[in-house]
Amino acid sequence: ETLTIATVNNGDMVRMQKLTEDFTKKNPDIQLEWVTLEENILRQRVTTDIATKGGQYDVMTIGTYEVPIWAKQGWLLPLDGLGADYDKADLLPSISDAVSVDGKLYASPFYGESAMVMYRKDLAEKAGVTIPEKPTWDQIADAAKKMTDKSTETYGICLRGKAGWGENMALLTATANSFGARWFDEKWTPQFDQPEWKKALTFYVDLMKEAGPAGASSNGFNENLALFQTGKCGIWIDATVAASFVTNPKESKVADKVGYALFPTGGVENHGNWLWAWNLGIPAGTKKAEAAQKFVSWATDKAYTELVASKEGWANVPPGTRTSLYANPEYQKAAPFAKITLEAMTAANTSKPTVKPVPYTGGQFVAIPEFQGLGTAVGQQFSAALAGSVTVDQALQSAQALTTREMTKGGYIK
């Protein structure tokens, strides 16, 4: 039997691919075929395939955004044959919630992340600022401005700016959450005309203008990572996985100078509710369900963590899925950011992303099928605001208009 596995080209998955042998040794009757793709292309491919029942894949790597939507459509097999060693109870509750529908697990988390603040301790010291463990946006702004020194190409803060629902809109939705804003009210009316959004976006644009790097409007995760690693950023607020990259001395000039803090709050008690996990799911149509479950359980159980640790060291194990990992002293030693990561993950609540009531679940995204298109369209407006080609007000107005349009078309607004 040959399993075709679609996966994203991130480091942890690549590592899993290299450990294939361990699995095939244990299951000599199962061969693995890997299809590794860049995130956006992967999403297109698997979505087209599953929606048309193309049946090309037996295991798919999907995000927390897709799991609930697909599960509702009955496209995913509920994972009830993962074996005794799987220990479902060990999963972080927030993650486990995100990949379950009606209490049933529809995908098994491979690694998870939230967002947090990473900053340069040396620069902060030089600028004479301290960043508390639970900062507010004002504190961040103040610190960023003080750290900025454009003559040495040191920028106080690096934030995502490239348009895209998974790029700038992830950060901006989380930021908006932390400012008390929401995408929709209970009747699915878009809320970009509300003061909370204006406050959040104005804050973001102003801060980036003053303390951000050039070209911020086309920076995504990778661009910011490169900037931070080469020592050009004072503060970077992004996904928690970044921590393992910036502390890797082989790649990073600033490996030993990074400090961490929780995602900032902006007046309300909300740390943005950023939660993401890449999960392994099994399409309902597969004829190799049993083998697929075997593989999923191999790749996501505790033994796999130990396997990686033994081959590549504890710093490289996939983070963010299991409580037991964070209790492991060896991991804590290898990953100085473990504590903050865990805190951030537990703080994220996807069923109640904002302080005001909303009809959707999510966090840095809204878990409705239209969100990819919508988020990207709104993201384009906001990145235009950041680039300075439109004002914040214009951007919000356009966002409101186009969101209303799409929601009407989608039948949400009657």
């Binding site: 348009a163 086309s218 490169a226 099928p369 384009q380 605001a385």
Partner: protein
């Protein structure tokens, strides 16, 4: 050539290609047309229903539509401008005798072999990046504020990348055309007292007209559907500044998975492309027949 027999065989010989192409065109086209009248989102199966012209209405009234149309024309026009003018200049340089001509020619045609995605990635990240990019470094070495390409001049940046990929094509065609210019004509003009510039204006340019037409025709066909470069670099942003029709349809089809909307968009694009083609054919008809 023209006996009844040969004409009959000709029809038979042509039919496989024509029939297959016709099927290739018509089957997806009919399906697309059919889908375009449905509410059909891949992510919400089972909700398909006939909605009349709703999808068209939404596509055409999309505030992004006219911007995208404009951007499409700018992208095609700008790229054509750069490649044709650059191609002519380059062809003239390459036509002069100099040392290592053959090698330079190889260097110049190389971009044509690079996959669009690869070239977009390389340009965006390694060259145009305002902080880490090579251009920024060069600018700073001269003490100039580096250009923030994708924020300040996003569409132009895309045009630049696309033009880089197509410049070799234009150069090669124009170079070949240039080399086919009758030497005696140039000599005649020389005897007639025409200097290099007059010769260029009165002889070389008109001689290249046909080749330029070919460049325009072929490139337009390919440029109308550029989207990989946009996807990789700007995702159509900031704002709508780099969204073209192809990208707009892409976002409907592969971000929203709105098959109905994308189909309507596809039909609109086909119509637009045919309008462009109509003008092109009239242009070509005149110039190719000669």
């Amino acid at each position: 050539m023209a006996t009844l027999q040969t004409r009959a065989t000709a029809r038979i010989m042509m039919s496989p290609a024509v029939i297959l192409l016709f099927l290739w065109m018509i089957v997806p086209l009919v399906m697309t047309l059919y889908f375009s009248f449905l509410r059909y989102n891949l992510l919400m199966p089972g909700t398909e229903e006939y909605v009349g012209f709703l999808n068209y209405q939404y596509f055409l009234t999309d505030p992004a539509f006219f911007t995208a149309l404009g951007n499409t024309l700018l992208l095609v026009g700008g790229t054509l401008l750069i490649t044709v003018i650059g191609g002519i200049l380059l062809a003239i340089v390459l036509d002069q005798p100099f040392w290592g001509q053959g090698i330079v020619r190889l260097l110049v045609i190389a971009p044509f072999f690079v996959m669009p995605t690869v070239s977009a990635l390389v340009w965006k990240n390694m060259l145009m990046h305002p902080v880490n990019g090579l251009f920024a470094w060069i600018a700073r070495s001269f003490g100039i504020q580096p250009v923030d390409w994708f924020a300040q001049v996003p569409l132009f940046s895309i045009i630049l990348i696309v033009a880089w990929q197509w410049l070799p094509f234009a150069t090669l065609i124009l170079l070949t055309a240039l080399q086919s210019l009758d030497g005696e004509q140039i000599e005649a003009a020389e005897m007639d007292g025409a200097g290099p510039i007059s010769r260029f204006i009165y002889l070389v340019l008109p001689h290249l007209a046909r080749a330029i037409t070919v460049v325009i025709l072929i490139q337009t066909i390919f440029l109308l559907s550029v989207f990989a470069e946009i996807l990789v670099t700007t995702n159509g942003g900031p704002g709508l500044q780099t969204t073209n029709i192809a990208y707009l349809i892409y976002s409907q089809a592969l971000l929203q998975f709105d098959v109905g909307g994308a189909s309507a968009g596809g039909i609109v694009a086909v119509i637009l492309a045919n309008i462009v083609a109509f003008f092109l054919i009239r242009l070509i008809g005149k110039n190719l027949e000669r």
